[in-house]
């Protein structure tokens, strides 16, 4: 599995607090047994309403890899379709003031780091990318820093997930299954397993 130590690329600024997963991918697009095609449907309804002015529709942000968001991004439904849609559009990392917990966990399991920064840092990044969409951003999980030309600022992520990205163990499935004996031993200690 691949290590995720840093992501470098152009940014995509998406302003607003409490952007929920229903907005990221409306429920009607979940009527499928695969995640195929979700990339084109990301923010479908918001984009129609913005009539071409939504950041995901603006040509200057085509090919961006780092999504820069505000507070409580990804709240609401647990649907992994939301980060899948964002990732399939081309995003490889997110920086935001804060993330909803289930969304964050889904991103870890997909190998997409979500890094937290202060509202001031987020604003600097969003402004810089809007001013010059060609600006290269770099998120560095080893130094826990975001860089943008000469500018550098600290970012945060809990120690566990960070370690999973750096060591390439963000897909925990194999590690979990490998503990089969301990799992069965733990289960055997739980009274309710027997009744």
């Amino acid at each position: 599995m691949s290590e995720v130590k840093s992501v470098t690329g152009r940014g995509l600024p998406l302003r607003g607090n409490d952007i929920d997963t229903d907005r990221i991918i409306p429920a009607r697009f979940l009527r499928s047994v695969t995640f195929d095609g979700l990339g084109e449907q990301v923010f479908a309804d918001d984009r129609v309403q913005a009539k071409g002015t939504h950041p995901f529709d603006q040509p200057q942000y085509e090919g961006a890899k780092i999504l820069v968001v505000n507070r409580n991004f990804g709240c609401g439904s647990s649907r992994e379709h939301a980060p899948q849609a964002i990732a399939r559009w081309g995003i490889q990392a997110l920086i935001g003031e804060s993330f909803a917990e289930i969304f964050f966990g889904n991103c870890v399991a997909m190998g997409i780091p979500c890094l937290m920064a202060t509202s001031e840092v987020v604003k600097v990044l969003q402004d810089a990318v809007e001013f010059n969409p060609q600006t290269q951003l770099q998120v560095d999980l080893e130094e826990m820093e975001v860089r943008c030309d000469e500018y550098a600022a600290p970012v945060q992520m809990a120690a566990g997930p960070r370690q999973m990205f750096i060591s390439g163990t963000w897909d925990a499935c194999g590690q979990l299954v490998a503990q089969a004996d301990s799992i069965r031993a733990t289960a055997a200690q739980l009274p309710y397993i027997r009744w």
Binding site: N17, V33, N72, S78, M164, W195
Partner: protein
């Protein structure tokens, strides 16, 4: 750091070990599966040549995509049909119990597990659905997960997780008539915000909580996630045990007494330490309605839509967005707002006691002219019980439609949807933009009794005037 809480005890009992990342590998006692977030997980298992490790601890049903007016197969929506077929195949292939339509036990996953006694105190419960927090009502640690994590639980019956902090939320005193569990949770979310619970499990306690029935407790815990808390729970007590005793999967005979003793031992200790404590007074809570596009944008029925100066600066931008989207004027009363659709149902408020309360308001009254009102029982068993009590006849006589079990218009992945700019009075859990199936549709969250009151008045009304 918390110590001696039910959360700590259950977490420790289910800890398999510590992963190299430092995270806990946590055993999941009950895995609930539905048709929307599982097909890709089963496909990933297949790709990796993995099996379901504990099929006997996995239970499936179909709820999100099912039509509630005509459930004949194949479904008219071929995509929905493909999804139910996928779950039928996957549960058969992996030997997982599946409560299908017509089984007598199908329904919303968070309604059927408690009603069958599958949900029990002291368990860890996961499901690919954010409203899994519902099951915390029993003193279980229950939380929503995404599809890759559904894969992990299928394959290993465990998850890689970091421990949450614990916030005790006390609601002291007694609720006034016309004030329900839904109002309590909308009030709590209003005060603590939609991100206030991020990183926390919520322990609900205090007299008002102790006085609640199990179904009210489920309503409360269900919406923990709307306050940002992935998990919310209530310590098990006599109310919990009385609800559980005799249910299909509850322990029986000699096992029952042992179970009760074990459950009692899991209750938070009197001297437990919490990361945070917040106290509310039940008498301060009135029937509550949301006016905006996030569940914390709520007000009492007799308050005005807040003007920006009443809000914290960081809440003003989303309030401005909400005024425009909802087409509601700050400073105007919410009471009297004309509505188009009334929806009673969902994993928040689709249980028998919810339908009884709504029927009590609807009885002998008529749905106002031009309003589409419908009632969707949370499960086939709820439907059967309601019909045995004659609630269906009360609703139909009042002009409500009476439907089959499913998630329905809570999230509109099925034919039940708002159209255009319609505004709904809804007993569901989310008022997000577009949530109820129209990209410009609008949702006002409230208790089922308040929805029934809105239906008969044709506008947002104070249920206390109709009791």
């Amino acid at each position: 750091m918390s110590k001696g809480t039910l959360f700590d005890k259950v977490w420790d009992l289910h800890t398999v070990g510590t992963l190299p990342s430092g995270q806990t590998q946590l055993f999941i006692g009950l895995h609930l599966v539905h048709e929307v977030t599982s097909p890709q997980a089963f496909a990933m298992l297949r790709e990796r040549g993995l099996k379901v490790m504990f099929p006997e601890r996995t239970v499936a049903t179909v709820d999100h995509i099912v039509p509630t007016d005509n459930q004949a197969r194949p479904f008219v929506d071929s995509l929905a049909e493909e999804m139910i077929q996928s779950l039928e195949r996957n549960s058969q292939e992996h030997n997982i119990a599946f409560y299908n339509i017509g089984s007598g036990s199908q329904g919303i996953v968070h309604v059927i597990a408690p009603e069958q006694g599958l949900t029990q105190p002291g368990m860890t419960i996961a499901c690919g659905d954010s409203h899994t927090s519902t099951h915390g009502a029993f003193g279980a640690i229950a939380f929503g997960i995404g599809t890759s994590q559904v894969r992990d639980v299928l394959a290993s019956q465990t998850l890689a997780l970091a421990k949450l902090k614990v916030r005790r939320i006390e609601v002291n005193g007694t609720l006034k008539p016309g004030v329900y569990a839904k109002d309590v949770i909308l009030h709590i979310i209003r005060k603590l915000g939609v991100k206030g619970g991020v990183g926390f499990a919520y322990e609900y306690a205090g007299e008002a909580i102790e006085q609640m029935s199990m179904e009210e407790r489920m309503t409360l815990c269900n919406m923990s996630i709307e306050g940002g808390a992935r998990c919310g729970y209530i310590n098990p007590d006599a109310v919990t045990y009385a609800y559980l005793e005799g249910r299909d999967f509850a322990p029986k005979a000699a096992e029952w007494d042992k179970a009760v003793a074990w459950w009692d031992s899991l209750r938070s200790d009197a001297d437990a330490q919490y990361d945070d404590v917040v106290v509310f007074n039940a008498e301060d809570i009135a029937p509550t309605v949301t006016w905006g596009i996030t569940p914390d944008q709520g007000i009492s029925i007799d308050e005005m839509v807040p003007t920006p100066d009443l809000l914290a600066e960081s809440d003003r931008a989303i309030a401005e967005e909400a005024y425009v989207y909802m087409d509601l004027q700050p400073g105007n009363p919410i009471k009297g707002t004309k509505i188009d659709v009334c929806f009673i149902g969902s994993c928040t408020n689709g249980r028998i006691s919810d339908l009884r309360e709504a029927a009590r308001i609807a009885k002998g009254r008529q749905v106002a002219e031009g309003i589409k009102a419908f009632v969707v029982p949370g499960s086939e068993r709820v439907k059967q019980q309601a019909e045995a009590e004659g609630l269906d006849q009360i609703f139909e006589a009042a002009g409500f439609e009476w439907r089959d079990a499913g998630c329905s218009m809570c999230l509109a992945m099925n034919p039940d949807k708002l159209e255009g700019r319609q505004i709904s009075a809804s007993s569901s859990n989310r008022n997000f933009k577009g949530r109820q199936g129209s990209a410009s549709g609008r949702t006002l969250l409230m208790s089922p009794a308040m929805v029934a009151a809105a239906a008969v008045r044709g506008q947002v009304a104070d249920v206390r005037e109709l009791l």
